[in-house]
Amino acid sequence: MKRRMVQYISALLTNVNLPGFIQGRIYQGVSKHVCVPGLNCYSCPAAIGACPLGALQTILASSRYTFSYYVTGTLLLFGVFMGRYVCGWLCPFGLIQELLYKLPSPTWTIPRWAGYIKYVILIVFVLFLPVFLVNNLGMGDPFFCKYICPAGTMEGGIPLLASHPDLRDAAGNLFLFKLLLLVLVILLSIKSFRPFCKIICPLGAIYGLFNPISIYRYRVDKEKCIKCGKCAQNCKMGVEMYKESNSLECIRCGECRSSCPVEAITTTFRLGNDSK
């Protein structure tokens, strides 16, 4: 399957330092100056790039800066080119959730309103608290990484604690809390498609805002569309593609395209406007 293969390759390319898991050391090459497109903890021993959300909070929480030109520019470029294609094709944590969803289990549908929670998390934990809740030296914390991000616990916390007895000794209630969050996300991922992406992920919230204007986008031919609703039935993100072809929730997985009986849904990669 084409998308799955791209997901595996992307996950491997962003985590190519596999010996790091055995050595218990994180990668220190120059590529860590650069943000990868998807959510991928830079404390994962295999990671060779920086997580854009972690990088953004690092800059915002520092006493030196109150705004990150560097990470904002990076997110603008990824967003304008691809929108949430990043989520559907390039994000390693999205891939992990999809693989968990393959496990047989009764399914649970996440209510649509829950999708708004990620915007609150973006504003409060990523943008507001790191800037305004600071210590005497003017330094804040990366609040999303510290209190929420299950990717950091899974990709960084567990492998590093497994190989560092001193880190195991230092782990306390915060680690237990984050471990519980991770277990919750894993259990939810078995029962529901990409619950973290739908409810929590601030990076998906940012990229989603670009979906309506991104250069890579979907297009529904209104003359061909027979409004049969097959696209909506097959969309695991709960998007009614025939009504809203560039929904903020669409991760460009392509299920709607392959299920459309009249091939009314197409993709386009154009700087200019659609011809129809």
Partner: protein
């Protein structure tokens, strides 16, 4: 402003911001954080 112009504007802004950020050493701050174990990220605090 139509969407084509908006895309061009945002892409240009993206490149300019990226360069501005690099010039004021934000990339170095990102690197410094990314090459050390982030205790907050892994749940130590």
């Amino acid at each position: 402003m139509n969407k084509k112009h908006l895309r061009i504007l945002l892409l240009t802004m993206g490149v300019v911001l990226l360069i501005l950020g690099a010039v004021r050493n934000e990339a170095v701050s990102v690197y410094t954080k990314a090459v050390k174990i982030c205790l907050e990220c892994i749940g130590i605090g």
